[in-house]
C-alpha cells in the first residue's frame, strides 16, 4: 500500500524501512495529453492535482526544466496567511488558507502545516489605523484577526524590543490561523498525490517553444521533443514573460529578486511569525531551529537568483532593530528567488490572448501561501475555460480597464509592491 500513516512509519521501522517506494514515478513524456502544465513548482503541481482530484482530468503532464520544487517553492520563507485588505485578495487567500488547513488529509502527505500565528507590528498612529482597517475588513469577510496592544505584543513575543527608541512598538495585527508550512514537503506532497491520480510529472524537460496555430495553443516544444495538448497552463513564476514571449504576447510583469536568509540552528526562540513595521523584515523559526527571515525586493529587474548586499544589509539592520538579541547570531545561508512582479501587487489566474493557454502568474512575493488556492483556481479555469468567482478579478486586462487590485496603493510601479 502506498499511503503514509503513523502506523506505516511504525511498521516500516520494524522491517528495516525496506518497503518505502519513490513518492512519484519518472515517466517518459507521451506525444500528447489533455492538459500540459508548465512548471513543476507548488503552483503547477497543485494545478495538476486539482485537475485530477476535482475535475477528473487525469491525462495531464507537468513539465519541469529541472527537478521539481527548486524554483520559488524551494526559495521562500514558508509563511501562510490570509490577512489582506481588499475583498478580491481576501476571499482568494482565505480560500487558499482553508485548503491549507485540510491539505495534509487531501494529499496524504505531511506538509508540517503549523498555524502558529502571524503578527504584523505597527509603530505609529497611521500604521495602527491601517491595521485596524485591515483587521476589520478581514472580519467582515469572515477571516480571523485580532488587534494586540503593546503589552499584548510583549506577552506574545517577549524578544521584540517594544521600547525601541527610534521605532517603539504600539501593537500588532495578529492572524492566529496564519503560520508556516514545510515548503519542500508541499511540492513533494502535491507531486505524490497528483502522480497517484495518474498525472505524469516530467522532470528535466525544458520548454523551448509554444506551438500556436490559428490563435490557439496546440502544445509545447521541449528539450525532450514535442508534446501536444489542446490546453496548456503556465505556472512558471519568474519566467512567465519568457514563455508568453514564445506564445507571441507580452504581460504586465517584471522579474525581480527577493532574498531570504536562515541563521544557524537554535533552541526554540520565536514561536510565531513576526513582521517589522518600520522596515522590511519578517521572521519565523523553522522546525530545524534556524531563524528564517526575509525582506523586500532588491529593487531592479533581475533573473540571477543571487541577492545583492544592499538588501541583505537592510534586512539584518531591521532585524536587529526589532529583536536586538539577533545581534549575536550568525547568518548561515541566503538565497534569492525570481518574483513575477505585477503592476498592482496582485496575481493573474486567467485565460490569455492565446486560446487554450492559461496562466497562474504575477505572484509577487506572496506565492507560497497561495499554492493550493492558485492550483485550485487555475485548475478550475483550465477545466471550464472560464474563471471561478474567486479568481475572476485576477485578469491580465484589469489595468487597461482601471480595475486594479492595489493592496498597498502604490500605483503602477512593479518594483514598489
Amino acid at each position: 500500500m502506498a499511503g503514509y500513516s503513523g502506523l506505516r512509519v511504525f511498521s516500516e521501522g520494524l522491517r528495516g524501512n525496506s518497503g518505502w517506494r519513490p513518492a512519484w514515478r519518472k515517466p517518459e513524456p507521451k506525444p500528447s495529453y489533455d492538459v500540459i502544465v508548465v512548471g513543476g513548482g507548488g503552483h503547477g503541481l497543485a494545478t495538476a492535482f486539482y485537475l485530477a482530484e476535482i475535475h477528473g482530468i487525469t491525462n495531464v503532464a507537468v513539465i519541469e526544466k529541472g527537478p521539481i520544487g527548486l524554483g520559488n517553492t524551494g526559495r521562500n520563507t514558508t509563511i501562510v496567511r490570509s490577512n489582506y485588505l481588499l475583498p478580491d485578495n481576501n476571499n482568494f487567500y482565505e480560500h487558499s488558507l482553508k485548503l491549507w488547513e485540510g491539505l495534509e488529509q487531501s494529499l496524504n502527505y505531511n506538509v508540517m502545516m503549523s498555524q502558529r500565528g502571524v503578527l504584523n507590528l505597527f509603530h505609529n498612529d497611521a500604521q495602527r489605523n491601517a491595521a485596524i482597517r485591515r483587521g476589520n475588513s478581514m472580519r467582515l469577510n469572515g477571516v480571523d484577526s485580532d488587534l494586540l496592544d503593546r503589552d499584548g505584543v510583549k506577552a506574545m513575543c517577549p524578544l521584540v524590543d517594544v521600547d525601541n527608541g527610534r521605532f517603539p512598538v504600539m501593537g500588532g495585527l495578529l492572524q492566529r490561523r496564519g503560520g508556516t508550512a514545510r515548503h519542500d514537503a508541499v511540492a513533494w506532497g502535491f507531486a505524490h498525490a497528483a502522480d497517484a491520480r495518474g498525472v505524469d510529472i516530467i522532470e528535466q524537460c525544458e520548454v523551448t517553444g509554444m506551438i500556436v496555430e490559428g490563435g490557439a495553443i496546440q502544445g509545447v516544444r521541449t528539450t525532450r521533443g514535442e508534446i501536444r495538448a489542446p490546453k496548456v497552463g503556465l505556472a512558471v513564476a519568474g519566467s512567465t514573460s519568457l514563455l508568453t514571449e514564445m506564445a507571441g504576447f507580452r504581460v504586465p510583469i517584471e522579474s525581480h529578486l527577493l532574498q531570504a536568509f536562515v541563521s544557524e540552528g537554535l533552541k526554540p526562540l520565536i514561536d510565531c511569525v513576526v513582521t517589522f513595521g518600520a522596515g522590511h523584515f519578517y521572521i519565523s523559526q523553522s522546525d530545524k531551529g534556524g531563524l528564517v527571515f526575509g525582506g523586500g525586493l532588491d529593487g531592479y529587474p533581475n533573473y540571477g537568483q543571487r541577492g545583492t548586499l544592499r538588501e541583505a544589509e537592510h534586512v539584518y539592520a531591521a532585524g536587529v532593530s526589532m529583536i536586538p538579541a539577533l545581534g549575536r547570531l550568525r547568518g548561515l545561508r541566503s538565497w534569492a528567488g525570481i518574483m513575477d512582479m505585477s503592476p498592482d501587487g496582485s496575481p493573474f489566474i486567467c485565460r490569455t490572448p492565446v486560446r487554450g493557454l492559461y496562466m497562474t502568474a504575477g505572484w509577487c512575493y506572496g506565492g507560497f501561501k497561495a499554492t493550493p488556492g492558485s492550483g485550485w483556481c487555475h485548475a478550475w479555469t483550465i477545466a471550464k475555460d472560464e474563471p471561478h468567482r474567486l479568481n475572476a478579478a485576477f485578469t491580465l486586462d484589469r489595468f487597461r480597464d482601471g480595475r486594479l487590485i492595489d493592496e498597498r496603493g502604490n500605483g503602477p510601479f512593479h518594483w514598489m509592491h
Partner: protein, 90 residues
C-alpha cells in the same frame, strides 16, 4: 554592482535608484487606451541585455541610461540621459 557614473566615476549601486526601462517611448495624449496600457503596465522583461534609467539619487542626481545584463548584472555602457549609448552589447 558598480555603476560607472559619467560625472562621479564607478559608484556602488546603493547610491542609485532604478527608474525603469529606457527603451519604451511615452505615447502621445491621443494615442488611445491600448497604447497607454502598454506603456504603463506591459513589460518586455528580457532575460539578458537591457537598457534602463538609473537616477544617481545619492550622488550627482543625474539620470543615467545604463545597459545592464539582467542575469549577471554586468554593465556595458552608461550615458547621460540625453546622449546615446555607444557600445553594442557584448
Amino acid at each position: 554592482m558598480l555603476i560607472p557614473c559619467p560625472h562621479c566615476g564607478p559608484r556602488d549601486e546603493v547610491e542609485f535608484t532604478y527608474r525603469g526601462d529606457a527603451t519604451v517611448m511615452r505615447p502621445g495624449p491621443e494615442d488611445g487606451i491600448e497604447a497607454w496600457d502598454d506603456y504603463l503596465h506591459v513589460r518586455r522583461n528580457p532575460r539578458g541585455w537591457t537598457v534602463e534609467w538609473w537616477l544617481h539619487s545619492a550622488g550627482c542626481r543625474a539620470v543615467l541610461k545604463v545597459r545592464r545584463h539582467t542575469v549577471s548584472n554586468a554593465i556595458d555602457g552608461v550615458a547621460l540621459a540625453g546622449q546615446p549609448l555607444e557600445a553594442d552589447p557584448v
